[in-house]
Amino acid sequence: MNAALATLVLLLVGQTHAQTQPQTQPQTQPHTSTAINLDRVEKIPDVVMLDQVPGCYGSVRFDHRVHVEMSGIQGECRNCHHELPEDAKSADKPDVRPCRECHEPTGNATTDGKLGLRGAYHRQCLDCHRDWTHENACGFCHTVSGTFRANPALSDRLRGNLQPRAEAHAAYVYTTAHKGIPTVTFHHKDHTERFGIKCVECHAGNSCSQCHGGVSERPLVNRQQSCYNCHAQDRCVTCHDLRERPAFDHAQRTGWWLRPAHAALACNDCHKPNEYPTTPVTGACLPCHAKRWGDLGFDHARTGVALEGDHAYFNCLDCHRGGNELMLADCTKCHEERPVEGPRRVGRDNATWWDARVNHDTTSSDH
């Protein structure tokens, strides 16, 4: 990918007399990450002078780097360099070409539908710029009659407050065609802040201004497609309901109350990344709780079973079944399974009573 971007650099520099920083040939390293990695694009031109189109206006100083940084949400290089194949991200050497290589600097769109260079530039730029400012604001990039001078302060200005903050409602309530349970409450805030889902995972197809130009009242993503990325295996009622739902409550939805120490954790600390709605916690407690719960000051008595006597010496998985400390303990390893009455009861609830006498048929001699 580095090599690819170097190609882009060299082509752009060669074609546009850009005011770029000195170039060096980067090392080729395989990258598989889908999110844009700014380390990889260090060698792209910072600034490109767009001065090939004759006309009433002077050249434009295009801050290429700023735009690369912003392109992560929407197709990376492909966002503008649309000739790149779909899989350009993982390709070793995508053929990144400057606009003018295909688009003619003079003339009108040709009959095969290819735009001239001026049209190509303007469509790319205005798509976002116009949406933010609500006007064409030609003077933002241009000055008339070639009086434009490269403005070093421009990129600082661009980095500033031109782009309004991306905004969204905390929750969206949709009425679907699902019979019986039509209402879907989508808690946007939960997904972005609590579940840590990145914007690009759902909004890869949206233009900048759709999020940065104020809160949209219309759905910006294909709901089913985006939701199914995570919820494909879920039942309808995971999302659909008779009425609006409150925000996600771990205790209510899973039965597992996040006591103060756990409330501070991120989902991924216990669950597999991006799979927490469907995967149960397995082995996630041990990294923190080490061999014994007591080591971290955990009072096992809070679970309803006080670890008294010999129990204090056991490891978690000596009792808990299936190698999972959240599964119920298997008392029958040591204890006989029969209901008893009276003061010797040690069971965890009223439904099951366990005789505290050790069953020596199933117990090793050191216990």
Partner: protein, 323 residues
């Protein structure tokens, strides 16, 4: 049918000299004469449409406007004024969006205007961006103004544009009444040499190999100049490729019998009527009037038919009088 009817008429009108009192024959003759007139007229009617189509040249040009791309910069207005020696200010003055507060029409000193579905200044809501539409003379395929012009001052040129020759014009302004788009303007304020003013698709530029001024300056290339045939193909290809972006209709393909200016839009054209894209029938109004006119006068059919009827009547009444 025509030949047989004629062959029936001639001998029988001749023989009627010998047999004047046969009333049934007289009736038959009347019907025959009427039929002859109708048939001649009908044939002329049928052929006039084909003749009209044959007049259009193969390589006639047009402009395709992609309304989904127009950003309302109004640079086309400026370039149009510049190319046609109309008064205009500085280029930056086009950025003034307050003009969109009203719907405008071309004027004597400005042949094209850009209208918007709503004033973008009043409500800059990104959720509902206004649609802009540049309007000017549409350069119809069968221009009613040309049809209505008494002196041939209006002409459909082989290149496509409808041109105006002020030296022929007598100032009757029938063309203005005939225009279904109401695009023609008249210099009422010029006392002695008033002219009709309209876009001529920059014929003076295109004959030099340049693009029309509006097309040349359009920053987003929402305007595309080319052979009308090619533009129609491109338009339909674009609709097919992006059915979500365009309504499945090319305005100007059939409106008013077809126009040289073609429009693609993301919004139904019914919502853009006020901007200057009226709903029109598929036939040019000129086609109907010309059909009637041409049917009556083609090959002197009308006068001949009347002469035939009058002659028949004359013979009949004379014979009746002698009898």
């Amino acid at each position: 049918m025509n030949a047989r009817t004629s062959s029936q008429i001639t001998p029988k009108s001749g023989s009627s000299v010998q047999a004047p009192t046969d009333t049934s024959r007289r009736g038959f003759l009347r019907v025959g004469a009427a039929l002859t007139a109708l048939t001649v007229g009908g044939k002329a009617l049928a052929s006039s449409g084909a003749d009209g189509a044959a007049k259009l040249s193969e390589g006639r040009m047009g402009v395709l406007v992609d309304l989904s791309r127009c950003v309302g910069c109004r640079r086309c207005e400026w370039a149009c004024n510049d190319a046609n020696n109309n008064p205009h200010g500085k280029l930056e003055e086009c950025d003034d969006q307050s003009v969109f507060a009203t719907l405008r029409r071309p004027r004597t000193d400005q042949f094209c205007v850009v209208n918007a579905t709503r004033n973008p200044l009043a409500d800059p809501s990104p959720a509902d961006p206004p649609i802009f539409a540049k309007v000017q003379c549409m350069h119809c395929e069968y221009p009613p103004c040309v049809s209505a012009c008494l002196v041939g001052a209006m002409e459909k040129s082989p290149e496509g544009p409808v041109t105006y020759d002020a030296s022929k014009c007598i100032g009757c302004r029938y063309c203005m009444i005939a225009c279904p788009f109401e695009r023609l303007t008249y210099e009422y304020d010029r006392r002695f040499t008033p002219r009709v003013r309209k876009c001529e698709l920059c014929l003076h530029r295109t004959r030099e190999g340049k693009l029309p001024a509006c097309v040349e300056i359009c920053p987003v290339e929402a305007l595309q100049y080319g052979r009308r045939e090619d533009l129609l193909r491109i338009a339909h290809e674009r609709i097919a490729a992006h059915p979500d972006r365009y309504v499945d209709r090319v305005y100007g393909e059939t409106e008013g019998g077809g126009t040289s200016w073609l429009y693609l839009s993301a919004r139904p054209f019914e919502q853009l009527v006020d901007l200057g894209l009226p709903k029109l029938p598929d036939k040019s109004p000129a086609e109907r009037t010309e059909r009637i006119q041409h049917a009556i006068f083609k090959g002197a059919a009308g006068p001949l038919a009347i002469a035939a009827i009058l002659t028949t009547l004359h013979f009949l009444t004379r014979k009746g009088g002698h009898a």
